[in-house]
């Protein structure tokens, strides 16, 4: 049984997982990450939903800006995801569902998308949402002047045609099955009223179609949301409003939860241990799209040799990484995060679950480094798990003679080094960098940008002439079974060649007051189902 093998190899503690999941009725489903889809742990939701009440929650990182198109920081998405929507959205199982578009047709061999918009959708200012607004919003994202870091998600769109006020056609230059997900992903796809960006400072003001309106935003302090009474998906939302107080310090969130001051908080595995046995608090956890990994600059020796990269990866115990970095609250993962539909490889079948020192030594000798070498790994203490992961690697590869220098950089400096590595094609910047990949609206987002020789997040110019055409094919065919086969094949190859080292998909751990009902975790890590949440 794959399940047993996973337990012994991955060292993933089933009991710990069940303790979190079972109490919520979603534990067994949670184990299903081996199978087709990630079923998130559901909050106990006995009884019928009730209208009213304000949810007081903690926001773990300041959103900084609420502009739905120009921010790469995840916390910005957390700030605006209740205010804006796109043409498509996600359900609890991360299936793409209609949102502002009621339906769509894909014609012309996957090159034309015709979206029929939902009628009678009002923006928060009372204005009706029509095709003009969709066109304006997408044009804003594509306009280089906007400098949207997510432009490439939608850049396949070459032309937009308004058929009637509620129908818009988008013409692509090539088939691009990721388009529907690119809208649902909401990283840079929110629909705003035509002309809004020219009238308002969208960094602190917001007018969307979302379930909540922005009542007040005081940067670094709090965001207050008020129920949108005209929301198209009646009777949602159930809450009258929400307040997210910025509490970056986990101890402060713990204290506020225990004192009953907040009803929701994001937690680390270490922090949540302090909530054990606390009355009136429910903890939910399930794996989500947060894969911790090392990007490897393959430009120069010795890392240009796949055997060297693989040897180092072979020396590391994945289970030890998971225990030390996140106290066991994760599952092993390959390039596509474990739990993302049927795209990822079965974690039980992943290579390198157990360290293989003799094999690693042999491989390193074959590559011409029998006595090892010295190398530097960069990480940022902004994310303690990245540092912990890197330290485990440092200890492990000592056994095969590789001397790792761990350099910790402040986050901005880390990002600058990372981006310099990419821009210079690996000639400048870092050698190995620890980071995480978050949710991508399509498996393509974990593959093409990083490993295609033309990919624009390709660290150091990794290139495999056999893989390039496969990646292009995988991002253009629309047949699911065919794509599935391609992505599984590509993942096997990159795991073999190690242009990155993938470690684990972390659990999303959220602590809620037992009063909070109807909330569901999303594989995306987002809190989109707060619109279905009510207070008992």
């Amino acid at each position: 049984m794959p399940r047993n093998r996973l337990q012994s190899h991955g060292g993933f503690s089933r009991r710990a997982f069940l303790a979190g999941g079972m109490a919520l009725g979603g534990g067994v489903a949670g184990l299903d990450f081996l199978g087709r889809s990630a079923v998130p742990a559901l909050a106990q939701s006995a009884g019928t939903p009730k209208r009213g009440g304000t949810l007081i929650a903690a926001q773990e990182v300041d959103p900084v800006s609420l502009d739905p198109h120009t921010n790469s920081n995840y916390s910005a998405l957390q700030g605006y995801e209740h205010l804006y929507e796109s043409l498509t959205g996600y359900d609890e199982k991360t299936n793409i569902i209609p949102a502002l578009a009621q339906s769509w047709e894909i014609t012309n061999g996957g090159k034309t998308y015709t979206f029929r918009l939902r009628p009678n959708v009002k923006f928060h200012n009372g204005q009706m949402m029509v095709a003009e607004d969709v066109k304006y919003s997408v044009e804003r994202i594509l306009d280089p002047k906007t400098a949207s870091p997510w432009r490439n998600w939608l850049e396949a769109i070459k032309e937009m045609k308004i058929v009637d006020p509620l129908t818009i056609q988008m013409h692509l230059d090539a088939p691009y099955p990721a388009l529907l997900g690119s809208f649902a992903g909401m990283r840079g796809s929110g629909i705003i009223p035509k002309g809004l960006a020219e009238r308002e400072n969208l960094k602190i003001k917001a007018i969307g179609t979302g379930p909540f309106k922005l009542a007040e935003y005081v940067p670094q302090d709090h965001i207050t949301y008020a129920r949108n009474p005209d929301y198209w998906d009646q009777p949602l939302p159930y809450l009258d409003g929400m307040v997210f107080k910025v509490l970056t310090e986990e101890n402060a969130r713990l204290a506020a939860l225990r004192a009953g001051q907040i009803e929701y908080a994001f937690m680390t595995a270490q922090g949540v241990a302090q909530l054990e046995g606390a009355p009136g608090i429910t903890v939910m956890k399930s794996p989500y799209a947060w894969v911790v990994l090392h990007y490897i600059n393959v430009y120069a020796k010795p890392l240009s040799d796949a055997r060297v990269r693989r040897a180092m990866r072979m020396a590391v115990d994945t289970n030890e990484v998971i225990q030390k970095a996140v106290y066991g609250a994760a599952v092993p993962s390959g390039p596509i995060p474990t739990g993302y539909g049927d795209w990822p490889l079965d974690p039980a079948t992943l290579p390198y679950l157990k360290p293989d020192i003799p094999g690693a030594k042999k491989l390193l000798a074959e590559a011409g480094y029998p006595n090892g070498f010295a190398i530097e790994i960069l990480c940022s203490p902004q994310y303690p798990e990245f540092v912990a992961t890197t330290l485990v690697v440092q200890e492990a590869v000592k056994k095969i003679g590789v001397d790792v220098k761990v350099t910790q950089l402040e986050w901005g400096a880390f990002v600058a080094t990372n981006n310099k590595t990419i821009r210079s094609g690996g000639k400048e910047g870092g050698q190995i960098l620890c980071s995480a990949n978050t949710f991508r609206p399509d498996p393509d987002g974990y593959i093409y940008p990083y490993f295609h020789s033309q990919g624009n997040l390709n660290e150091g110019g990794y290139s495999n002439p056999k893989l390039d055409p496969l990646m292009v094919e995988a991002r253009t065919v629309s047949n699911h079974a065919e794509r599935w086969r391609l992505y599984h094949e590509i993942q096997r190859v990159v795991l073999e060649e190690c242009p990155n080292w993938w470690w684990y998909a972390k659990f999303n751990i959220e602590a809620l007051s037992s009063k909070v009902q109807g909330y569901a975790q999303s594989f995306t890590g987002r809190r989109i189902f707060l619109k279905k949440t009510w207070l008992a």
Binding site: I56, D62, V64, S65, T70, N71, S72, N73, P144, K145, A147, S148, P149, W150, R151, N152, R187, N201, K203, I204, V218, P219, Q220, D221, H222, V243, K245, V246, L247, T248, E249, N251, A252, L254, A255, A256, R258, A259, G260, Q261, I262, L409, E410, W411, G412, A413, F414, V415, A416, T417, N418, N419, S435, N437, T438, P449, N456, L457
Partner: protein, 315 residues
Amino acid sequence: MRYLARRALWTVVSLLGVSILIFLLVRLLPGDIVDILAGTEGQLGPAQRAQVLRQFGLDKPLPVQYVRWLWSMLQGDLGWSFRSGQPVGGLLLSRLPITIELALLTVLSVSLLAIPLGILASVSKSVRIKTLVQIVGLLGLSVPNFWIAVLLILVASFLFRWGPALIYVNPWSDPWVNLQQMFLPVGSLALGFSAVIVRMTRSSMLEVLGREFVKVARAKGLSAGAVLLRHALFNAMIPIVTVLGLQTGFLLGGVVITEQIFGLPGLGWTLLNGVYQRDYPVVQGTVMLFAGTFVMINLAVDLLYTYLDPRIRYE
């Protein structure tokens, strides 16, 4: 008057120096606003990078950027935040009261607690008092205030299941709620601060108490209280006021972690976030405000000396 004029001149010179220094320092930090906006997952191509730099005026040569910034600052315009698009002046004005309140309440509580305790320690022969002073001194100096802050939060919530209102309330809209909110942060800051002041008061008092004029005052038959407060304390105040002033300056800048732990959106946190976000106008504006305040406090302390010791005259 001449002294004041000279001081004012020096103030301007030092503020100019600070402005050049901070302008260069933020730009020396690796990474800029383009990197922050792109992150590790998003992407900004060369054209987009150039666009962002142009948008924020970062494409101009450094001297041009500096002169522009200085010129608009002289006109009272601190520029616009790269990240929130808000005017920096307004942002700082909205954050200033929290930091000032935190600093003032801390100084006030330290003065009311630590100075009397120091005096007591200097005259008392009680072992208990001495032990108490030693404990306060040792704890306050050796335990970092962020640790005390976390401890206070956890004790309040786990033992008493208490926590003050989450979102900051102005003292003038609800003084009672505001005081509750300030209770723990001020407590965590005051402990370390008190340790310094207690020790300073004690040693300063001991020194003064051994002087001739105190003996004379006692010999004249003055009451112990009058000797202690009117004669000894008044003369012992100069080093205490100096330290109090210096520490207040540090409080303005050094409350960063305290503000963050207690979720108080004050200036310290604004500065820290400005640095993280490579939001140059915010960092520059905040540092200029800090520098200005520091200079003002120093001036006030110097002027206070002439009141405390009439022999001190500034020519």
